[in-house]
């Protein structure tokens, strides 16, 4: 019995450590919406650094966690926002002022926002008849598209190592975002009861 309790306690401790490495609750910072992206620096990357972790041998790298949240408002409208998660994002660079690396990570955030805008655009294309389930399905579809682009971005730029590819992607993403500038407002007026 004592043996079992020991293992149970050890298991709980290990699991807690694993959870803290995923989300740093000791230094928690609320998710930052896309509208605030200019204020983000590497000091906002607060997740714990796991010892001896490398990215295909790269010792200096960063990881940015983004997602989009859909808020269904009481008046029937929907608010869709792209968020950056400081406590789930980490940086392994010794030089925390490495602007190239930060720029690379922020463009992951821009890609997320691009797909959020595409989602808003599609919802606004059929504002009267769209259901919550349809929004969930569309969101899933755009996550799949986004993941593919995020992977291609990392593959082409090799996590910002290939600077000329990085610059090409920056131009491409800026252009994509600009083309959907009219869908940059998180609040979408649909099914409004007002």
């Amino acid at each position: 019995m004592k043996f079992t309790i020991f293992f149970l306690a050890a298991g709980i401790i290990l699991l807690s450590v694993a959870i803290v490495f995923d989300i740093n609750y000791f230094n928690y910072k609320r998710p930052i919406p896309y509208s605030q992206f200019r204020k983000i620096s590497f000091y906002d990357f607060k997740a714990f650094k796991r010892p001896d972790i490398t990215l295909n041998g790269f010792k200096e790298f960063a990881y940015i966690k983004t997602n989009r949240r859909i808020h269904y408002l009481n008046n029937g409208n929907v608010e869709i926002t792209t968020y950056f998660h400081p406590s789930r994002s980490y940086v392994f660079a010794q030089n925390i002022r490495d602007l190239d690396l930060l720029t690379h990570e922020l463009y992951h955030f821009h890609i997320s926002e691009y797909y959020t805008r595409l989602l808003r655009k599609e919802i606004l294309g059929n504002p009267k008849n769209i259901s919550d389930n349809m929004i969930i399905r569309l969101n899933k579809k755009y996550y799949e598209f986004e993941n593919e682009m995020q992977l291609n971005y990392d593959e082409d730029t090799y996590h910002s190592y290939v600077m000329q590819e990085q610059k090409k992607w920056e131009i491409k993403i800026d252009s994509l975002l600009q083309s959907l500038e009219s869908f940059s407002n998180p609040l979408i007026h649909i099914r409004s009861k007002e």
Partner: protein, 254 residues
């Protein structure tokens, strides 16, 4: 009690799955798309250790280590930086310079001969030499570009002299590649074919583009001598090709 054991099992499951492999080798991972000078430093340290302990070095014969050797001589490792015009010149120059230091250490690792004076890794030695031929062009070019960029007067005689001197160093280094013909018998036929491809792929580019106005007298003399020594028809053909290329260039500039 059974429930408690099940909970224990589930709690420890992620721990078992998260255990990494115990690979103590200093070689950088093959999955890393481009190796940096720091990676080559580690690779050289591992190669030194292997050679010191009389263990087999990564080579093209062993299917297990062939991908690793191919990674070592993959010119993309430096071309991706050398040709990236978005990177600063000084950054590229430093990168190539560090790569060059590592290359020089690398070539020492594979030149071991057996008791019958045959190279233990003849093809690998040639591949490393070819890696060096490709690298040296960028080493000299970025160095010269930096000298020109940082000079008060890029057209001054001092600048012209030093950049020409650097190009002549490149020609001398290329001439060292010809030195191997003195020891043709240390190589295998396959290695000699690869060697002759090195003559074909790199020398014309240097003679016509990179160091067109350089001093090729030493190289010409070497070629004359090696033509008398070589017994390999592919090498002889390439040497004659280089010889006529240099001579035609000399005639054209006279």
């Amino acid at each position: 009690m059974k429930k408690l054991n099940l909970i224990n099992f589930l709690l420890f499951l992620p721990v078992f799955f998260s255990c990494g492999n115990d690979d103590s080798s200093l070689f950088p991972p093959l999955q890393k798309k481009y190796w940096t000078p720091e990676d080559y430093t580690n690779a050289n340290a591992e190669l030194t250790s292997l050679r010191y302990n009389n263990k087999e070095l990564p080579n093209l014969v062993d299917p297990k280590t062939a991908p690793l050797f191919q990674k070592i001589v993959d010119t993309n490792n430096f071309l991706i930086v050398a040709n990236d015009n978005q990177l600063g010149l000084e950054h590229r120059k430093d990168f190539i310079s560090k790569m060059f230091d590592q290359y020089r250490q690398l070539s020492d690792k594979y030149d071991e001969a057996d008791r019958s004076d045959k190279y233990k890794y003849p093809l690998e030695l040639v591949e490393i030499e070819k890696f060096g031929l490709a690298l040296q062009i960028y080493y000299i070019e970025t160095g010269n570009q930096s000298i020109i960029k940082n000079a008060d007067n890029p057209n001054s005689q001092d600048v012209i002299d030093i950049t020409t001197k650097n190009k002549n160093i490149l020609i001398r280094n290329y001439t060292l590649y010809l030195e191997h013909i003195n020891h043709e018998d240390r190589f295998t036929d396959k290695a000699l074919i690869s060697y002759s491809e090195g003559l074909k792929d790199f020398f014309p580019k240097v003679i016509t583009n990179v160091a067109g106005n350089g001093d090729y007298s030493g190289m010409l003399e070497k070629i004359d001598n090696m033509l008398k020594k070589s017994k390999n028809s592919s090498i002889i053909a390439q040497l004659e090709n280089i010889q006529s290329l240099i001579k035609s260039k000399t005639t054209a500039t006279q």
